[in-house]
């Protein structure tokens, strides 16, 4: 296909332009047809033309107050000392909204009228048109009420109704069809065998389309058969305004989509300089735009955002979505490939008055990075990344108000933090406890640099046998911090159920054939292992798998449970969660380090209250391997 006309590995903007040209050449409509719908069904739809007022609102001059309607000229000269009395035929009692009776041009408020013998006595003159709502005060016949391209909200519908409309001309809703492909892809709810994956992308893309105001439907999963796939794609384009073909999980599977689009119509773009999302396919088949989305879920979601969303807005003639942006300080170094726009998911929080962005895992398969993201940060193709502390512009995925309620925890991972996050949220949905797992040491460094509110730590000092406290002066220097005890917890070796290798403890990790699963550098559990090995005179080199790093207890337990490792140090709750066996090694304290200035802040108050509650302590005890006796106690 070297001499075929499509372009590849181009920046997103050029890809969008090429796709637009292909659509124009391929006979795709620029806008969807207009349809007339009743006002009651028009919320969220986009106006296909201007809406002019058909009648005035109010449709008559109306009383603006409860009182009496008078002729202003009749009140001339009225004052406290020279009241004017109006005979019953010179005034009419009116309620707010009543049409002004003929011959009356002003309203006197009820409170300012005194009656004597059926006459209305006024002690002040009133100017003409006092308290009169003029005809057309809200809108006049033939005035522009709503422009074309306006997404209709509740107030728009009511204003249109008041101006005489009963229906409104809107764009037909775009129809999006999602066609999943791949031999290994199974529908959601199916049991998956080895190497099979669930079709979560179709659900996601169809929901994204609905969130963008479209009708969406998912087609059956097509196996990797070019003939069948071409047939399915050819049939699908007849019934939709955008066909999204989702590649399976393999890299290179986008080639199928590209070949089929080229065969059935026009292939405009294959591959864009965007990460994640690179193997995007853009084309046109039989007058319908076709988007080939990568199978990696983060790539698929961002591909929709970058390529489908603007097209769908254009078809509806609506304003494309622009997420609000805000500046933030980057919590960590961020390396980024040259030549690619790199979309990084970040957690956000306000620490010491400044917005801080912590990058989430970057893998295109880590959909939870998008679930947990508060914002998106794009590192442009021309930049190699950012330094820690750099100010970056972030697209916000959550409101600033929510973000300002977020408690940012960086440091060691513990399930109690997850449990606390969930409990805080259940009490008050505005509160988020966002944990980034970088190990105890990384947490203390982040706290030092003003990047978090809490650092979770269980750092063992080999010299003293003490936890965490000896490190505070070393790492945090003169900073004023305090320490709140979260919990004591059992650390031990997680081994396969029934302990098939008959491991007794740390001393057996150097045994031939034992595959260890380690934690990352800076993790307290890693330091515990190192100390335990050193005490026994075992060299790390002697431990097979010492180089395999996972960043949470659960990830280690998962590897053991899957039989891809034989032993790993971690907490009992993680072993329980995965049903693997647990050989206790030690009981250690796990603490929260907090800047003293933050300790009494309203942001953290709900957390301290939670830690002291019996209900929460009972829930933690139930996880297993935890002692909550000192939970919430300030120990420094």
């Amino acid at each position: 296909m070297a001499d075929s006309p499509f372009i590849h590995d181009v920046p997103a903007a050029r890809a969008l332009d090429a796709w637009r040209s292909a659509r124009e050449a391929g006979g795709c409509p620029a806008r969807l047809p207009a349809v007339r719908v009743p006002l009651a069904d028009a919320a969220g739809r986009v106006t296909a033309g201007p809406v002019w007022a058909l009648r005035s609102s109010p449709p008559f001059d109306a009383a603006g107050m409860d009182g009496i309607a008078v002729r202003a000229a009749d009140t001339l000269g009225a004052s406290e000392t020279t009241p004017v009395q109006l005979k019953p035929d010179a005034y009419d009692v009116v309620d707010t909204g009543d049409p002004m009776p003929d011959g009356r041009d002003a309203v006197v408020m009820r409170e300012h009228v005194h009656y004597c013998d059926g006459r209305a006595e006024l002690r002040a003159a009133v100017p003409p048109y006092q308290h009169v709502r003029s005809i057309g005060e809200d809108v006049s016949t033939s005035e522009l009420l709503l422009p074309a391209g306006h997404r209709l909200r509740a107030v728009d519908l009511a204003a249109a109704a008041a101006a005489g409309a009963t229906d409104v001309l809107v764009r037909r809703r775009p129809v999006v069809a999602v066609l999943p492909t791949g031999d290994e892809v199974r529908p959601i709810g199916a049991t998956t065998g080895p190497g099979e994956i669930l079709d979560t992308n179709s659900l996601m893309l169809a929901t994204q389309a609905r969130e963008a105001g479209c009708d969406a439907h998912c087609l059956p999963i097509e196996p990797d058969d070019p003939v069948g796939l071409a047939k399915a794609a050819g049939a699908a384009v007849a019934d939709c305004d955008l066909l999204i073909i989702v590649a399976g999980s393999s890299a290179g599977r986008d080639d199928y989509t590209a070949r089929i689009v080229a065969q059935l119509g026009t292939l405009a773009v294959h591959g864009v300089a965007v990460r994640p999302g690179h193997p995007v396919v853009l084309g046109v088949v039989a007058g319908t735009p076709v988007l080939g989305a990568p199978g990696y879920p983060v790539s698929a979601a961002l591909t929709f955002d970058i390529f489908a969303e603007p097209l769908l807005a254009e078809l509806a003639g609506a304003v494309p979505r622009h997420r609000p942006r805000a500046p933030a300080r980057l919590a960590r170094k961020l390396a980024s490939p040259l030549g690619m726009d790199d979309w990084v998911r970040v957690r956000l929080g306000v620490v010491r008055g400044a917005m801080v962005a912590t990058p989430l895992p970057r893998g295109a398969g880590v959909l939870t990075s998008l679930v947990r993201a508060d914002g998106l940060l794009m590192v442009p193709a021309g930049l190699e990344g950012h330094h820690p502390g750099d100010e970056v512009q972030v697209e916000l995925l959550r409101g600033l108000d929510e973000i300002s309620h977020t408690i940012v925890a960086i440091g060691s991972h513990d399930l109690v933090l997850d449990l606390a996050a969930s409990a805080l949220r259940a009490d008050d949905p505005r509160i988020t406890l966002a944990s980034s797992n970088v190990g105890s040491l990384g947490g203390l460094v982040a706290l030092r640099d003003g990047l978090c509110h809490l650092a979770g730590s269980h750092l063992l000092d080999p010299a003293t046998g003490e936890y965490t406290l000896p490190y505070l002066d070393r790492i945090l220097g003169g900073q004023d911090v305090c320490v709140v005890r979260l919990v004591h917890r059992d650390q031990g070796l997680m081994v396969a159920p029934g302990n098939p290798l008959g491991l007794a403890g740390i001393e057996d990790l150097a045994r031939a054939g034992v595959r260890y699963v380690n934690r990352q550098r800076g993790a307290g559990t890693r330091m515990l292992l190192d100390l335990e090995l050193r005490q026994r005179g075992i060299s790390p080199d002697a431990v097979a798998g010492y180089a395999r790093e996972e960043s949470t207890h659960l990830a280690v337990a998962a590897a053991i449970a899957a039989g891809r490792g034989d032993a790993g140090l971690g907490i009992m709750a993680a072993a329980r969660a995965f049903g693997v066996d647990f050989l206790p090694v030690t009981r250690e304290p796990y603490d929260l380090v907090v800047a003293t200035a933050d300790l009494q802040s309203p942001r953290l108050a709900p957390l301290w209250a939670l830690l002291r509650s019996d209900r929460f302590q009972a829930a933690v005890t139930e996880l297993g391997g935890y002692d909550t006796t000192e939970m919430g106690r300030r120990i420094r």
Copy 2:
């Protein structure tokens, strides 16, 4: 009811508290019950509990690249000069996403493998777990995936599916019933007689409820009969989680609602210190919250925002909506009553780099003020208002990106501006041309103060007979501005069809029995009248209705058409729109004054292009009374 327990005229926060206490005492649930729904139906719903991962994703160690799976130990020592050759039983070809075959712990990318005689030759050693996606990389079994109180988005559904869920526990959607009341209220689509109004509030409130994620239904309109209304309200509360009773248009009609709520259940609040919105009723009937909304549409809409929205979020356990805020400079003086939180609708635009807020009409009946609003500004009860130029915080109703595309026009009103607004928007839905009608003089002052991009002017200088230009130095001092001709237009007297009073021109305005409808001070049309009167030696006092001011041509035409005035000066297009007769008085130029620095700005470029287009000039000519010969020409 002086000694009844309800509170009145209290700040919104106290009213919300009182309502909450009444709901708790009255047996209203704090949260709606949880229901289990399939993932495919769960978008937009709120989680009723935390969602924990039921399985890991990926559920196995998987290849992260296309290539071959190897044992890393087998590649030890491989280099460019000492390649390692692997026999076919020492590697497996894998695609991205394939499970790692037993005994393999690393992947070598396809591009780095050379085959010779069935053997795979490697020229570099690889570390263990290179290009392997660990089991649970995305999410581990038993990890917290989503907290309670989370509104489900596309990515959440996909992540839940990947973690083994097929359904999810969410809150039942709140059900809102809207009960419109009032003898004078007619359903939308009905023909209204004198004094009757359309029930636009029910459509608006039900749509607001749906926008907030609720199910909503409207009940039939109840006349002002306490017995029938009590019966309808009593029946309605059985089928909803919130009953909104909408008062008719009269002030004092809220008393009905208050009395019925007190009679059927608990009246907690009657009247809040909020404008517009004051006569709000809050209570509980038979375990269901009841909200009495005022009949004025702006009041009704804001009442929903302030009182219903937080309750509905609480019932669903979701985060209440918080609109983004931004600082803006106030374009005009803003007087505000003490003792009331005053919600002011504003138009927003970016002028000379700063966000400018222009207050829209304040009347509670002016729903178009909410339609046109880009933001809401709350003047707290303790403030008497703001000075022009004050920095205020504005709640944004539109995105900042859209606001930054807005062309802000302040000055005289002309239909051509409406037409241009509509045409610009149809071409590019991001562009808004926002006109505030304050008269020619006010527009020039606003331009001088940096509050708008364009000032529309047709100010006649009586001394020279010239329009607009003589005023520039006088009002704008040394500022560097240019002038672009919009159009020439016919000004004349609008009179009832058939000219029943036989008016010949300006000279007849002083005739007995002729009711004139005037424009506001500072309007070019008002100055034209003054000049025409002066030239004829007629005193304004001799013109009946001289004091009656309307702020647009259309409003004057509407008054004439409704028979509430006999003559008014205005443009021919307005007369045509209302089908009234037109007696030409003069032909005048209407110009746009622009800061020279803005003339070439990208924001204004689409407007200049439009003015020069034949298509647009033809559309203007069709309005009648316009000459487009000089349209778009820079005349200074």
